[in-house]
């Protein structure tokens, strides 16, 4: 080999090397951008489309938790508020929402609820993105924690919870038929508080109540035990909230170092001694006026039921809870409570908005709006009332990622029509609720069936051959559905695919199809994950489809049993009808006679979902040519 040849080779090799490396970097960059986005639960669509948790709201009035800012732009990126300001440049790729004439509030925080049933969904539908639970089932505490720490899509409110409460044997809190641990003497106080902390309580709720206010007598912690409990909580760094009903007991609690009261007392109006104590200890008071009004037999439910925006969003459970009443009315309670809140507020004591839902006369979600109105009746301005349901709660409970509209915080927000800073009733005129930057689907709970005139529309809508690029369209297209809405952890990803590797039986010319893949994880009573499509353009709106008989679709999948869920009926929380479908690895046409699926109400047809259930772990199936006939 000549030297000439060798030296030329040596000169060329590094150049070639640099070229190849440049090509490699380019190729990797390309692949990175064509990688499907992996946001939890998000609908995966084409690569250049931003996920739903990035958007901007323009020309909107912002109540940031403390101040009112006019004509603002709010940028949300990946579920977090990226910027708030007046002359912000809006990136062209960002979906923008017109906020003119509307007011953007931080996601509301209800400082006093008891979780039950569908509380977390019901709260969120009314803009309550976080709730402070003052006693419920302590076994859920770790779920609450996991849920509020993640930034994925969820349609339930986040929860901070006291877990089980601290009460005497036979005391208030033991009457609900759920066995709870009780505390009988001061010596055990520290161990008892430690047990709550070990269970995962975010703070403690102490019951100091002898029933005297309500013509009764019930067992209560004695004063020494109360002091021991509060001392233990202080030492362990836990916030303490004490339930009291009387002025005297409120003073005892504050003297013992309570951080806050779970209710305003209602036997007597606050006196100077109490005001001094509260100020001195920098204590807060969760007013719970809505429930006090209900105790007084003056819940004024018709006020709220008369508002169409409320009426439409109340589930049957909320409606029942609102319309029920306490067995006995104590008419003086609300006036005393209002006067006390007024003087506490005037004295500079921090008042927080809490509904005590689902006590009679209140309900999850709407309860906080009732409370906001009652607070204005006690003399708070609408702005002060809203602070009591946003930034002030966040400050008291140390929630640094929420409660305000500011850059870097979680995009939990409520957009309302009008200006609640002038008229507090405007808080119920909700134009949009975002949780973790994802817009919540708010279904009209009263929705009457769409008239048959719209029938052609839905037929055209549902007929999906996956040839056009339509699966990610949030209006009429296909979406992910998983058990995450019931606290599960299963996941699914939708993807429009075109038949490529296997040439066999791709169908005529039609070779686009919906590819559904995901993972079933335990953690929910009924695990599921898959794809859902709505019959009406609006999600979960019922359509009169009585002229329809058959649902036909082509499918294949990892061989096994899957479920077809058929959603129908007038109420939001109706369980879907289930039809088992068996898929094989080859395409097969399935015909479902909808009249034979038990529990389908064709007059109010809402949605179809194809899902994998508890028998699966990781699953894959494909859908094509879905039509109704």
């Amino acid at each position: 080999m000549s030297y000439e040849k060798k030296s030329r080779g040596l000169a060329v090799t590094p150049i070639l090397l640099v070229l190849l490396i440049a090509a490699l970097v380019g190729a990797i960059y390309f692949m990175l951008n064509s990688a499907p986005s992996a946001n939890d639960g998000a609908v995966t669509t084409t690569s250049d489309q931003l996920p739903d948790n990035s958007f901007s709201i323009n020309a909107v009035r912002v109540f940031d938790g403390q101040q009112v800012l006019e004509n603002q732009t709010v940028l949300v990126r990946d579920g977090l508020i990226a910027a708030v300001g007046q002359a912000l440049e809006i990136p062209a790729d960002l979906q923008s929402i017109d906020g003119a004439g509307k007011t953007l509030l931080p996601g509301l925080i209800d400082s006093h609820v008891h979780l039950f049933g569908t509380a977390r969904q019901d709260a969120l539908r009314f803009g309550v993105t976080t709730a402070i639970d003052l006693f419920s089932d302590q076994s859920k505490l770790s779920d609450y924690r996991a849920s509020r720490e993640q930034l994925g899509q969820q349609n339930v409110a986040d929860i901070y919870s006291a877990g089980s409460l601290i009460t005497a044997p036979g005391g208030h809190g033991t009457q609900f038929g759920i066995p709870i641990p009780t505390l009988s003497n001061a010596a055990d106080a520290d161990a008892f508080v430690a047990a709550r902390q070990a269970e995962g309580s975010d703070f403690i709720k102490v019951v100091y109540e002898n029933g005297s206010e309500y013509d009764g007598s019930i067992a209560t912690l004695d004063r020494a035990t109360l002091q021991a409990v509060l001392a233990a909580a202080r030492q362990r760094g836990l916030l303490s909230i004490v339930h009291v009903s009387t002025l005297e007991f409120a003073k005892h609690a504050l003297q013992a170092g309570a951080d806050g009261l779970a209710h305003v007392f209602s036997d007597l109006t606050a006196d100077q001694e109490l005001l001094d104590l509260a100020r001195q200890h920098n204590a807060f008071v969760i007013a719970t006026l809505a429930v006090q009004a209900s105790v007084a037999g003056q819940s004024q439910i018709d006020r709220w039921l008369a508002l169409p925006a409320v009426d439409q969003q109340l589930s049957q459970v909320q409606r029942n809870s609102l319309s029920s009443a306490f067995p006995n009315a104590y008419p003086d309670v609300i006036d005393t409570a209002l006067r006390s809140v007024a003087s506490l507020h005037a004295a500079g004591v921090r008042i927080l908005a809490g509904s005590d839902a689902p006590n009679p006369g209140t309900a999850h979600g709407i309860g906080l709006h009732q409370e906001l109105w009652w607070l204005t009746r006690a003399g708070l301005s609408p702005q002060q009332a809203l602070r009591a349901a946003t930034a002030d709660v966040a400050d008291v409970f140390g929630l640094s990622d929420r409660g305000r509209i500011a850059a870097g915080l979680r995009a939990d927000m409520v957009l309302v029509e009008g200006n609640p800073l002038n008229d507090i009733d405007a808080t119920v005129n909700i134009a949009g609720v975002w949780k973790n930057g994802y817009r919540i689907v708010r279904t009209n709970q009263l929705a009457a069936p769409v008239q048959t005139a719209a029938a052609e529309k839905y037929a055209a809508n549902l007929l999906a051959d996956f040839e056009s690029n339509d699966i990610g369209d949030s209006q009429s297209g296909w979406q992910v559905t998983t058990d995450q809405m019931l606290g599960g952890q299963s996941e699914a990803v939708l993807e429009k695919r075109v038949e490529e590797l296997s040439g066999n039986n791709a169908g005529d010319n039609a070779n686009g199809y919906l590819h559904v893949s995901g993972q079933i994880r335990s953690g929910s009573m009924f695990p599921w994950a898959g794809a859902i499509t709505f019959v009406a353009p609006e999600p979960m709106a019922p359509v009169d489809a009585s002229d329809i008989k058959v649902l036909r679709f082509r499918a294949r999948g990892q061989p096994g049993d899957y479920q077809l869920m058929v959603f129908s009926g007038g109420q939001d929380n109706t369980m879907p009808a289930l039809q088992q479908i068996t898929l094989g690895s080859d395409w097969q046409t399935h015909e479902i006679d909808l009249n034979k699926v038990g529990g389908v109400e064709l007059k109010r047809l809402k949605a179809f979902a194809w899902v994998a259930g508890s028998g699966h772990s990781e699953f894959v199936f494909d859908l094509d040519e879905v039509e109704l006939q």
Partner: protein, 252 residues
Amino acid sequence: MNTLTVRHQWAIHCQETWSEWLRLIRIPMFALPTLLFPWMFYAFFGVMFGRGAGNAEYLMVSYGAFGVIGPALFGFGVGVASDRQQGLLQLKRVLPMPMSAYFIAKIGICLMFSVLILLGLACIAVLMGGVRLELGQWLLLMLILLIGTLPFCAMGLFIGLHSNSQSAPAIINLLYLPMAFLSGLWIPVFVLPVILQKIAVVFPAYHLAQLALSVIGKHQGQPLSGHVLILLLYTGIFLLLAGLAWRRLRDR
């Protein structure tokens, strides 16, 4: 050199391959882990602890990729390094044997080990995991994974030419094991945190796994040509780098 007939050439290549095979199969430190680890890992994580046939199928493919990368990296990396250190490489170069026989033998052995690994995995998958694929899928999978060893042979060669027999196994393990994990060969890539999923795209092992997974329709949906291109580029780059090192060695 031109005096060798085709028949001679063939015989030399076969001889060299056979002796390479004998050499490696007699080093349990190479043969056992390379064969047993993929089988064991797959049997444990893919079949016994994973639930459902979907996992077994997915992981059979990803452990297949894990399996074939091993002999390529170790066979070439450690093999070349120790040949070089013991002077065997120099000896072979002065022999009238064409140098291609040396490389063909190494590639051939790497493929033989790969076939053994894949057959073992397939047996576990079919017998214990209930995995069922069409004949065409089995063959295509085998083909992709065998051809897919080439970039790793090139990487192994590059490492072998730059390290000695003591350091080569360490270097290769440092590369091989994290790369396998980050490319989603042990647990599916979509289970990894999003940031790791993004990082995965850098590794050739990810692209090989994605190509192989496309046979069972479980790839992540990026263009297949992109995976092929990146694997080719990796092969080219490491071959060039190895070529430079080889020339330095020769000129010395």
